[in-house]
Symmetry: D2
Subunit: 133 residues, 4 copies
């Protein structure tokens, strides 16, 4: 599991005084990128070196408690499945030990033309290493 | 079912050249607001007149094909369930007859203090009218 | 001058109950794209056909009155200067005849490598046509 | 001057492969909030304790070099003017010593009704303290 800190800015809130529901997917993305960095992958390199992309094919968020302006949040990210041409991440958004939201994203591996393609061996190996603690 | 047109702006895209995955929830929101308007409810009034809010407690998106800059999209919104203190909307995002994404949002009805409260009778009645065609 | 209608969504607002200040630049962008379309240019084509980009090098916004959720706004866009390798647009954001904000953006013409390059002749000619009314 | 670190996420970029021009105002906001925190003010408290808001009445950005996905940026924020009912912040967005953008925001002090009101004495005093180094 990898923790990523997020400070909620004003621009993330909406007029209900809480974080806008779509912005949780931005926080999940930040968590995902840091997860990859923790296992030695810069997402920047995924696209330039491996010539593949990992677009999201499914996203799910359960909202438990609202996040608010200036909250210091932590995104806890795990990789919960690696397929031949896919990977699935799960997330918990936490404030002072309390889960505010949870969810997952499912990613396909596609080439530059957008066709599904197997995960490059080196990339799959890195993802399959034991999750960092 | 209610259709809402959306023009994709540059700011909605990301460096993959397609719409960023979190922005689909913005499009769904636009569809939801127009759905409510079509059955005679301005969401603005939900908050000021009825003194309730309808925060999202669950959101799900399945991404089928990428939406791109300058696409003219249509969000097709239906209300697929009204509970005592909840409502669920389903969405299809369509470009020239092709579904690019689909999903749903589940909403709780809460009062100003954030406690779950039954949908006000008038609001529930409007939501339960036959869906506009 | 070209008018572009914008419906303010919930996701555009912040906890002050008004549109977040950064989102006005999204509205300006929508106005700019429609201005170009009105003079026969699809911005999509600028990048693919002419192989140039028009990145913003300067942006300015004056905020007069707040825009709010569900407002139906109109962006009034004019092209107020075309240089050898630049173009400048000016904007007014209007609600029911009242200007809520005004501003401008200055754009450089750059090639794929990011170097400043003269506006392609055909593009400049289109921009220099009398402004559409 | 107060430095605030920002990690660029994918959702901040656009299809030109760089940070979308409107998102720099999000970065400036993050810098401004941290500036206030450094002089002992939580913006959250400005609204709840002092019962005033500091909406932006003018924003300006000059874009020098593009910021890119995964860049670790630093927003350098200074308060360059405090008026009776206004305050002005200036910003530099820096990556490894190189300024990518600069700009300023001018803020009015308004009460809950939106009327301009003098900066509360305690708030003004804190702002007028020598800038933190």
């Amino acid at each position: 599991m990898v923790k990523t800190d997020i400070r909620v800015i004003y621009g993330d809130t909406d007029q209900m005084g809480v974080v806008y529901y779509g912005n949780y997917l931005r926080y999940f993305e930040a968590g995902r990128t840091e997860y990859l960095r923790a296992v030695g992958i810069r997402y920047r390199d995924v696209e330039t070196q491996f010539q593949v992309f990992l677009p999201v094919v499914e996203a799910h968020v359960s909202y438990h408690k609202p996040a608010r302006f200036d909250d210091l949040l932590s995104v806890e990210t795990v990789l919960d499945r690696v397929g031949r041409a896919s990977a699935r991440f799960a997330y918990r958004l936490v404030r002072e030990g309390m889960a505010l939201a949870s969810g997952h994203t499912l990613h396909a591996c596609v080439d530059r033309a957008g066709s599904v393609t197997p995960l490059p061996a080196e990339l799959a190996a890195r993802l399959r290493t034991n999750s960092p603690e």
